[in-house]
Structures are given as structure tokens and as C-alpha cells.
Symmetry: C2
């Protein structure tokens, strides 16, 4: 799928101006953290805006667990708007009129970049369980290959929330010279025992589905994928994306189209109906094996592990400037975890802006329209662009 | 199964002195909250200690979601000790040397009391999905029938944690003249949207298991029960029983028998292995349909519903004295929820003792050895027994 840049009648470039799938690493395979190698990989990506003459205005957006590269504009898979339209677009905090914005689908995912649903060139079938286990480090390596391909050496900013935020920190740690600024939202530097536990429940739900077939459900084109298990995994995860108070204010114990309980196992409560919808609609757009591989990558993520748990050491001598944002009601990646990141950065003299935003929508706050977050990101980018001397 | 009271050589009654299954409601069926009726029901129960002459020393212990009537002594189903041996026994806070203690398996469960795994007298097969949906009110009605059968009009105390705590409050609201005191631990007066959400994930996991067979997995004795789905349900629930900090201090990111991750989907982390064990060991002792029915009953529970959400009205003119205990790290039924119960009781002039115990083990703290909880319960019972004039 290749779209050519579209020019509007006024001669300005349309916001959605480029989407492509590029083959990278041919003849020079990606060496993964596991030690395995992935030969030529495909990376699906989109760009918005124009790269300026000195290539100083490039911003990489990193998506979350179930996201993709359709940040804004229409997502051709879902037919809906992009996942971060509040944040990215003309005149938005990440302003497509000023910056050249790139987002690629992560390695292991299923929206165009190589993952377990891709064809294994050795067998001619989908990789399935033969896909190598990947890490956040590997995802970022694939992004770096894409930037090489695009001829971009240095990023003005790497921006992301949740797993996207993990990638921003990974970028700063792995490629300190290529990242001027980082915006890390609603994220953590390592998955906690509770984070791992919730992911393990999701993986077990998928693997308990007989249709999973030990990961080989794609071998028989007539076979059903493990939709029931994947839906349960999504439901369990979705609870962690919302706060208790947010659920109470939005759903409480409100009943579904009834004035009394039905004394049965259909969805009596609105929260049940909502969760079931989240599960059912998810399976149409996401691959069960990708869910296994990406949750595994997140569980393996621990930036402090090579330094005996001392996170600050991952950023020693960093020159990157950081903006860290947490939400008071986020119990998945808590304010305390963001504070630990900030303290660790302070310990090595890094420049950090930090905001803990009072919003009751839980972890998913970063995806919602949050004026305080928007103002913080817009202000940080404007100030750093001025300081660094980035031309639009 | 009937055991006769056992006398020790000293002539004193053994702690485990009576277990029985009794048939109740013959000719006078139990009318359920749903409007349906259950004819003769079986209720499995155990007693410890001796009922005194004026029958004033009877205590009813109420068990939690997956509990049973084996409070202390050896559980013949698991071969392990009872679930509340820290709390109940000779010289323990609920002292079997002083009180006559009763615990019955709740209606809908699977340890001897009538539930979906019991034979439906109409079909000659297990009820399965034909079992009527029950409520906490129905569970307590069945307990009241048992007390009638035992000739006990008034309980000195009703004591329980979690769903057991919900039953204690239900007792005080439904039978105010039969309950002198209540000890409600780590509990709530209504299931919140988040509580319902977690239970719905568990139910969906069970119902997604093809072996569930629309609840009729017992019809074919050669069929496998839905163990995989039930294990996932248990794993998801188990996370809610522990605190984030408790998980971190107990497991953190510790690896399982390895010094590095295995880059695969086996249990790499100790928390994964622990959770899997919780799931696998649960299915040997619990029936999947019972799990559906009891979680449904908990979700339906809302003591304030008949009073437009004003909980205090459920206890208007109560003479029962209450002891309410919460744990700082319990995020399933939070301290704030216990405070709401206390404030509501205060609003109608009820006598309430309240303690919020600083313990980092989460919801399951009530099942663990917690000296502060033990002291609080022991002190409350001793003081109230003196005040009321209960003879040992």
C-alpha cells in the first residue's frame, strides 16, 4: 500500500500526506535482544508535514500496545479517526504545520509491520509461534532503521504514552545522540509484578482458547482464530486502563435497558455491556499472537536491569530534555512511577519538566482530550524548538 | 456425610466436633429474590464448641466467594487446614472454648450445599444453567433456615470477610432481631462498577471455554469441565486480592529458576508461575457454574438499592453492634467503602467500632495472620459478650 503525497488546492500539503510499507534490513538482518536475527523486515509507517531543510523538525510518535501508525486522519482498518487526533494535527500540540511527524507500526504488531501474522519466508506460512520473542529495544531498533531509511539522523522529539512512553525512554537510553527531546506520558521504566500479572492473565486467556492451536491458527485458512480468548484478554486489560472512580461516575451500577436485574447471565449492568463490546470489537482489528508477543515485550522491559536496578545509570551523561506527564488516577503506571523516572533523571542532571495531571479517567487519560496535557506538550515543544533553533 | 461429636480423653469436646448435611425447606420451599422457588435444599455445615444453656453464645461464620464450611481443622476436600485457623479455634479470637460456632457452605456453592452442580430432582441431572440465579439475600435466608433447624433464634455474632462480610451486613439488615453483633471485615455494601467488571471478565473466561458447553458440562460424565476458563477467571480475580506493593515486595521482577529471561511464553517471572498455580489448583476444588452463580450474586448485592442509595436506611432502628475492619492496601473493597458503612451506621445511631489496619497484603489480609485484626475481633467479642451477658 503506497499513497502519494496529496496536495490541497491551495498548494499546501494535506495533513495525511504519506503512508508506506518499507522493507528494511535486507542483507543486514536485525539482531534481536534474544540473539536471534530477523532478515528483511517490513515497517508500515505514516508521515505528516514536511521535513525542513536542516532536517531538524522530525518528531517520532510511538504508539501503545494495540495502537498503529494511524495517529490522525482516517484509519483505513477501522474507518474511524486516528488514535491521537487530540494531540497531533494542524495547530494541535504536535503541530503538523510545524513539524515533520513520523509514526510506524511496532515490530511484532499486525498493522503492516512484520509480526507473528506475517509470512515466514522459510516456511511460506505465517510465523505464528516461530516468530522470535522481541523486546522494546528491538522495536526501537526497527524504528531507527526506518529513520536511517528516511535519512533522518536526529529527532527533535520522541513522543508517546503507555508502551509508547516506554519506547521514548528506550530511545533516549539507546540512542542518546539522536534524540533532542522526549515526551513520556503515562508510562513506566519497567513492568511491575502487577503489570506482568495482568498481562499473564491475558496471555493465558488466549492460550486457553482451543482455537489458538498452539499459535498455529493461521495455518488452516478455514480455522477460526482465538477470538474468544483474545476478547477476554482485552476485557481484563481494559479494566486496568480506567480508574475505579471513572468507572463509577460513568457506569456505576446502572442497568442496561432495564429497570431491574434480569436474574441471568446476560449483560445486566452497563459496565458489562461496555466491556463485552470492548472485547468483541477488538478481535476484528488485532491478532492474538501479536498480543502475546507485544505483552511479552512489555513485561521484559526494564531500563534499569543492566544497572542493578539503578535507573539513573541508563541516562548518565544524557543531553536529551525530558517532559514527563502522569495522571493522578492512573493505577496501571502510577504517578509514583513517573516520579521515580523524574528523580532518576534529576540524579544525572538531566533537564526534566514534570506534570501530574488531576484527571479521573485512569491510564487512558493520555488518549483523551485533556487540555492540561495538550498545553504541557505544546509548551514544552515550543520552548525546546525555540531553544534548539528548530525552523518550521 | 455425618460425623458424630468426638470427645477427647479428657472429656472435653474436640474442636472439630460436628459436620453434617441437612435437608431444609421440605414442603416449604425457599422463595428466592428472583421470585423462583427452590424446594428441599441441602445445607452442608460444621459446628465447633458447645451451645450454652440459654443459647446465647452462637456465632455464625460466613465464608467468602470460594470458601466453604471448613473454617478450622482439616478440610477433607483439600487435605489442608481450614481457611480461618488464625481467627477461629481454642483460645483464638473467635474462641471455640467459649462460643458455639457454626459455618455453612453458601447456597449456590459446591462443597455440599445445593448449587448448580447438585442434582435437579425434576431432570435427574445436575441443575447446571437451570439453577435459579441467587442473591446474597437468598444465601442468608438459607442460613436462617439452618439456624431454625438448630433451634437457635438469636446469634451472638455474625462474622465474615469479603463476601462473608456482605452476608454479615445482610444478616443485620434482614434479621435485625436475630443478630446481637456483626463483625464485617474487608467488605462493602454494594459491588462497584470495577468489582462487577472483574467478575464479568471471569465469567466471560469460563463461558468462552468450549468445555463449558452452555453450562451443561456435567450432563456427559466423560466430558471435560471448563478448567482452562475457570483457571483464567481465578487468576484475574487473584490479582485483585493482592496489593501492588505486596506483589512487588513478594515477587517483584524476580525470575523463575533462571538468571535471565527465556525469550518464550513459559513462566519466566515468579509472579507468572504463582498465578498459574493459583489457577490450576483452584479448578480441582471448585465448580465453574458455582463460580458464575456466586459472582453474579455478589454483583447483584446492593444493600442501599431499596432505599434510593441511602445505605443508612437499611439499618434504621438497628440494635446490632458493629465492628468494621478494613485494610489500607485493599483496593478491591477499599477503606473508603468501609468508612461509608461506618458513617451510614453512625447516621442511624448504631454502635460501631472501626479499624483501618495498615497492612500491605491487600484484600486477602483478612485471611492472613494479622495480630491487629485478631486483637480487634477478640476485644470486640469479649467486650460485647460481657455487656450482653453471654455465658461460655
Amino acid at each position: 500500500m503506497t499513497e502519494q503525497p496529496v496536495s490541497s488546492p491551495s498548494g499546501e500539503t494535506d495533513v495525511e500526506n504519506f503512508a508506506d510499507v518499507v522493507t528494511l534490513g535486507e542483507g543486514n538482518p536485525l539482531v534481536l535482544d534474544s540473539g536471534e536475527m530477523l532478515g528483511a523486515i517490513e515497517v508500515a509507517y505514516k508521515t505528516w508535514g514536511r521535513l525542513n531543510a536542516d532536517k531538524s523538525n522530525a518528531i517520532l510518535i510511538c504508539h501503545a500496545l494495540t495502537g498503529d501508525h494511524y495517529v490522525c486522519g482516517t484509519n483505513p482498518i477501522t474507518g474511524k479517526g486516528g488514535w491521537w487526533e487530540n494531540m497531533v494535527g494542524p495547530g494541535k500540540p504536535v503541530d503538523t504545520d510545524r513539524y515533520y511527524i513520523i509514526c510506524s507500526n511496532v515490530l511484532g504488531s499486525c498493522a503492516g509491520t512484520t509480526g507473528p501474522a506475517s509470512l515466514n519466508p522459510i516456511t511460506g506460512k505465517a510465523y505464528g509461534p516461530d516468530f522470535p520473542v522481541i523486546t522494546l529495544g528491538d522495536m526501537v531498533r526497527a524504528q531507527a532503521l526506518l529513520l536511517d531509511h528516511l535519512g533522518i539522523d536526529t529527532l527533535f522529539s520522541v513522543i508517546g504514552g503507555s508502551m509508547g512512553g516506554m519506547q521514548t525512554l528506550q530511545w533516549a537510553a539507546a540512542y542518546p545522540d539522536r534524540v533532542k527531546t522526549v515526551v513520556a506520558i503515562a508510562t513506566t521504566w519497567r513492568h511491575s509484578a502487577q503489570n506482568i500479572a495482568f498481562h499473564e492473565v491475558g496471555r493465558q486467556a488466549i492460550m486457553a482458547d482451543v482455537n489458538w492451536a498452539h499459535g498455529r491458527y493461521m495455518d488452516d485458512p478455514r480455522a477460526e482464530p482465538p477470538h474468544a480468548g483474545l476478547a477476554v484478554a482485552r476485557m481484563a486489560a481494559h479494566i486496568t486502563y480506567m480508574s475505579e472512580s471513572g468507572l463509577t461516575s460513568r457506569f456505576g451500577r446502572n442497568l442496561q435497558d432495564r429497570d431491574k436485574v434480569a436474574f441471568g447471565f446476560d449483560a445486566d449492568f452497563q459496565i458489562e455491556s461496555y466491556l463485552r463490546h470492548q472485547g468483541i470489537s477488538f478481535v476484528d482489528r488485532f491478532d492474538a499472537n501479536s498480543y502475546l508477543y507485544i505483552t511479552r515485550a512489555m513485561d521484559y522491559y526494564d531500563l534499569s536491569a543492566p544497572y542493578d536496578g539503578v535507573l539513573a545509570e541508563a541516562f548518565r551523561e544524557t543531553k536529551t530534555r525530558f517532559c514527563v506527564i502522569s495522571f493522578t488516577s492512573d493505577w496501571l503506571y502510577t504517578t509514583e512511577e513517573s516520579r521515580h523516572i523524574v528523580r532518576s533523571l534529576n540524579a544525572v542532571g538531566a533537564r526534566v519538566s514534570f506534570a501530574n495531571i488531576d484527571m479521573d479517567k485512569g491510564h487512558d487519560s493520555f488518549l483523551l482530550d485533556c487540555p492540561e496535557m495538550n498545553d504541557m506538550v505544546a509548551g514544552f515543544l515550543q520552548s525546546e524548538a525555540r531553544s534548539i533553533g528548530v525552523n518550521s
